[in-house]
Structure formats: C-alpha cells, structure tokens
C-alpha cells in the first residue's frame, strides 16, 4: 500500500513537471493557433541564460567580471525572454500573418534549431548543475514517520505550478489584456476590427510563454541539470497536450498528472510482464488512444457550431 502511494505521488510530481512544459504550449496555441515546437528549447534557453547570470564563471562573469544574485538573475532572465518574444514577433511572426498553421509550425521548428544553436554558442554545451536554492533531498518527516520518499524539489514544483496556474487564470479571466488574448484566440479578424493589435498581443503571449518556460527550465534544471536533452522534454509534453486538449490550461495540468501517474503505475505493475521500459512509450500510446476516441482532449474547447 505504501509502495502504491509512493508510486502515485512520484507520478503526480513527475506529472507536474510535464504540465509546466505543456502550459507554455497551451498559451501560445490558444492565442495564436500556433503549435510552438520551440517551447522545449525555450525552457533550455531560459535555464541556460539564468545559469549564466548567476554563476561564477558564467557569461556575465566572463564578460563583466561579476554575477548576479539569484533573484536578480531570475528577473534578468525574464527580461531576456521578453526581448526574445519581441524579436520572434518582429522578425518571424510578423511576416507570416494569415499563413497556414503548418507554415507557422515550420517556422517554430526553425526557431527551435536557431535557439538551440544560439544557446550552444553563447553558453556552451556542457551539463550545468543549476542551483537556485531549492532544497534538495527527501522531505524528512514523511520519510521518518511514514517511510514515504518524496523529493522537496517536487513539492516546490507542485506549489509553483499551482501558483502559476492561478495567476494565469486570473490574468486570462479578469484583465483587459487577458480578455483581448482570448478574443484573439477566438477570432483574429474580429479582434483586429475592434482595434486589438495582433502584434502586441503576440508579444505578450510569447513573453508569458517564455516566462512559463523559465519556470519549467528552473525546475527541470534543478532536477537533472541544465543540458541539451532538456529540449527533448517538449516531446513528452505532446501526449500531455493531446490528453488535456491543446487549448485548456487546466487540461495541461490534469493531462500532465494523468501521464505522470499512468506512466509510473504502468512501469511498476505492467512492466514486469513485458520486460519493462514502459515509461518510455506509455504516454504516446495513451495519446494515440485519445486521438482516436476524443481528439479534442479532455478539456479542449468543443467547436461551437450553429446550425
């Protein structure tokens, strides 16, 4: 029983990590209908930038001879992500207004390679242990009293994800810009006609997605070091999105949790019968099943059709 509880909890925590990445995808897809292939690389890029801002021997240290305290580094990295968003809008998206979704998708693939290369040149390609002061190791009292092994980092990730979702929900539902974002997601043309500028909305969306990517990058970087394989977690976010629905913020969270838990349970209870390693493909099979029977995902917006 204890073992089951531990499996489920560690699955949930892994799920939160997936959800953090998936969240960035949802934001951009919702507001512009673009599937942003570069989201995973943005996580990597943000984590790399943050690392170099705050570590001795990093980018800042080598060029200016000093490095930033952690909190300032996080703010500076947010700034970097906002500038990046602006540049993406100015030099890529602006020229592709009203193109097919597939063309925009291709553009984001290009962007992914560009960012990966730029990250490599600017920050180097070695694995960097990102430490921004998130406590490591197991939560002591749970381990001592109940024999449950839960990482502190995972608790922090769960809390952060919760806060992030609440903030985003308020931003989308209650603010003027949030309303405009949803309007743009519904109908580009009509949004233009009431005077919403698509250019500035896109900068806002990509900035928010960039900041979400930073949060995901911090969590993943703290967990397994900042390395280039980080950009591949984007692939794990894909089944999460298919499960939760591409347009739903809560969907991204719940989808992440289902995948996380499902994966762990399948590994533990089904794995032995098929020789293990289910964790690697379970999510994709689940996504396939969803694509067949419920393509809009659990929480995806049903297309309202008037007859």
């Amino acid at each position: 029983m204890l073992f089951l509880a531990e499996t489920v909890i560690s699955g949930l925590m892994a799920g939160v990590m997936y959800a953090l990445v998936a969240l960035g995808f949802v934001l951009i897809f919702k507001a512009s209908g673009i599937f942003n292939f570069a989201q995973g690389v943005m996580c990597l890029f943000a984590a790399l930038a943050l690392f170099d801002f705050i570590s001795p021997g990093g980018f800042m240290d080598r060029w200016f001879g000093f490095y930033l305290p952690i909190w300032l580094g996080v703010i500076a990295t947010m700034g970097v992500m906002i500038i990046l968003a602006w540049m993406i809008e100015r030099f890529v998206l602006r020229f592709l207004v009203n193109q097919d979704a597939i063309i925009l998708f291709m553009a984001t693939i290009g962007l992914a390679y560009f960012l990966e290369g730029a990250g490599d040149i600017m920050f180097g390609s070695d694995v960097k242990p990102l430490d921004i002061g998130i406590p490591q190791g197991a939560v002591d009292f749970l381990l001592d009293d109940y024999g449950l092994y839960i990482e502190k980092l995972e608790i922090v990730a769960a809390v952060t994800a919760t806060v992030l979702v609440i903030v985003l929900a308020i931003f989308f539902q209650k603010t003027r810009v949030g309303r405009a974002l949803r309007a743009v997601a519904d109908d580009h043309q009509a949004a233009l006609s009431v005077g919403i500028s698509l250019h500035s909305i896109w900068v806002v969306v990509w900035s928010v997605a960039g900041i979400v990517a930073l949060v995901a990058g911090i969590m993943w970087g703290s967990k397994s070091g900042v390395q280039f394989s980080l950009s591949l977690i984007a692939l794990k976010a894909l089944p999460v999105l298919i499960l939760g629905g591409f347009t739903s913020v809560p969907g991204a969270i719940i989808g992440g949790l289902i995948i996380g838990v499902g994966e762990k349970l399948a590994e533990v209870y089904v794995g032995p019968f098929v020789g293990g390693a289910i964790e690697n493909w379970f999510a994709y099979v689940l996504a396939l099943v969803f694509l067949v029977f419920r393509p809009q995902g659990l929480f995806g917006e049903k297309i309202i059709e008037r007859v």
């Binding site: 207004v97 009203n98 003027r176 309303r179 405009a180 949803r182 309007a183 997601a185 519904d186 109908d187 580009h188 043309q189 009509a190 949004a191 233009l192 006609s193 009431v194 005077g195 919403i196 500028s197 917006e301 309202i304 008037r306």
Partner: protein, 281 residues
C-alpha cells in the same frame, strides 16, 4: 441649419464630410482587381448605404476604410481615403478605432467563447478614459439592446443570430465611435429582426450622432433608412443619390427591389437561360 447648408460653398461642405473615399482601387494578392475606382462620401451624422449584389465590392470598400484589408492580403493601390481631413489608408485598424472608425463585420464575428458582456468589453480595448467611461458605455449599449442585458452572462456562441448581431453592434459602440462601418446587418436574420436592428441603427444615428456607412444586399430596407445611397456593380459605383431618389428610380426598382411598373414581379417571369444538362465533365 438646412438653409444654411445650401448656401455654403463647396469647400466648406467638404468639411462636413466625415469620410471621403476618392477613387480607390483595391487589389487582392497582387493580382485580383476588386475595386476599380470607387468614390463616396459620408457626411457627418448621416447614414449612407452601399448597395449591390454579391461580389460587387461592398465589403471590400468597407474593409479598405477600416484597413482590415491587410490581414487578407488586400491593398489599396490607387486613390485615397480621408477621414476628418486626415489621410487614413496607411493607418492600422487599431489606430482607426482610436480615431473613431470601427467596423462591424459581415457574419457578426462574435467571440464565441466569451460571454456577451466580455464581448462588449473587448470593444473598449483601445479606450483610455478609465472604468467609469466604459461602465457608462456598457449601460448605453444595454439601454439600446435590452436583450443583451438579459443574456450578458451566456457564451456568445450559444446566443441567437439576432443577439449576435446586436452583440457585434454593441461591441462597436463600446469603442465610442463617431462612425460605424456596418457590413450586412441583415444577413441571415428574420425580417422582423432586420427591422428591429435597423430601427436601433436609426436611433443611434439620431440620438447619439453616430454616422453609418452600411453595406447591404437588402436594398429595400437599406434605402428606407439611408440618407444617401451608392450602388456598386463589379467594383464600380454605377449610381448614387439620396435614399428617396434611388428608391423611385426605375432601374433600381427593377434590378434591386424586384419591382417594375406592374408592381411586384414573380421570379417565374424573369427571363433566364436554363442550363443545359451536360452528360460529360
């Protein structure tokens, strides 16, 4: 007032025009010539109707004014558009909304997943005059469209066609416009609703002083409410005149109102070529 207007020379009357479109040509995708020189004028505080069949260029004319053409790869290649003495064909739609020109698009285009009230509030996106002013405008919209107040919390996608049209017009009003470009308000609505919506347009025009440029296929209703009308055919203005004159014009009667000297005519009597059945192709 009217006596004075008659005496003013042409130059001063120009100033009375809120909008003048001078001989514009519009090309889509660099190849498709849609407007071949359209000129029209909208005097301040009037309703001007653009009439014509499908594909005549009504919507394109409106979009040229509101500059929504850019998003459809359309371009004004000749002529100019002047609003309050300022050339506007290079301005972005959001600049235009801030200057008081807003378009209500054909087919309503509500934000389906937003509630009716949220839809209305998006109309105030460009306003900078604070929550109080926006609140007042919202009350004004609900005053003209009481039905929207009842439906304020429902998702716009689930409201009826008439309510969506009202939402779309209300949303435009929220921007505090001086001029609304209204595209096919009658589309897909029951005649009674069409009447209701035009009645509200008329009241908005009289009481709030909003000028309208409206594109309409339903020439009967359009001409009844319009002060002035232009008839477009194949991207050109073929006729213009005030509402009364156009309504009494023989050609207009026959082509657009379905009337001729013998009164209402049946479609059965209209000559047409029956398409021969083709067995191949």
């Amino acid at each position: 007032m009217s006596a004075q207007a008659k005496e003013t020379p042409a130059a001063e009357q120009e100033q009375e025009n809120l909008l003048s479109v001078n001989n514009i040509e519009v090309i889509y995708d660099h190849v498709i010539l849609v407007l071949k020189g359209v000129s029209l004028e909208v005097p301040k505080g009037k309703i001007v109707a653009l009439l014509g069949a499908n594909g005549a260029g009504k919507t394109t004319t409106l979009k040229a004014v509101s500059n929504l053409l850019g998003a459809e790869r359309g371009d004004v290649t000749k002529g100019n558009i002047i609003y309050k003495g300022e050339q506007i064909e290079k301005l972005s739609p959001s600049d235009l909304v801030m200057r008081g020109v807003i378009q209500v698009m054909e087919g309503r285009h509500c934000f389906e997943h937003l509630t009716v009230e949220e839809n209305l509030l998006t109309g105030a996106y460009t306003r900078r005059d604070g929550a109080k002013g926006i609140r007042d405008s919202l009350d004004l919209v609900y005053h003209y469209f009481p039905r929207l107040r009842e439906r304020r919390t429902s998702q716009a996608g689930y409201t009826s066609g008439g309510e969506q049209q009202m939402t779309a017009i209300g949303r435009a009003l929220m921007a505090n416009p001086e001029m609304i470009l209204l595209d096919e308000p009658s589309m897909g609505l029951a005649p009674q609703l069409v009447e209701e919506i035009f009645e509200i347009v008329h009241r908005l025009n009289e009481k709030e002083g909003v000028s309208f440029l409206l594109a309409e296929q339903n020439a009967i209703v359009g001409l009844r409410y319009a002060d002035y009308g232009y008839i477009l055919e194949n991207g050109r203005v073929v006729m213009d005149g005030d509402g009364e004159t156009l309504r009494n014009n023989e050609d207009v009667k026959e082509f657009y109102l379905g009337l001729d000297s013998g009164g209402r005519r049946s479609f059965r009597d209209v000559k047409h070529y029956r398409r021969r059945k083709r067995w191949l192709s």
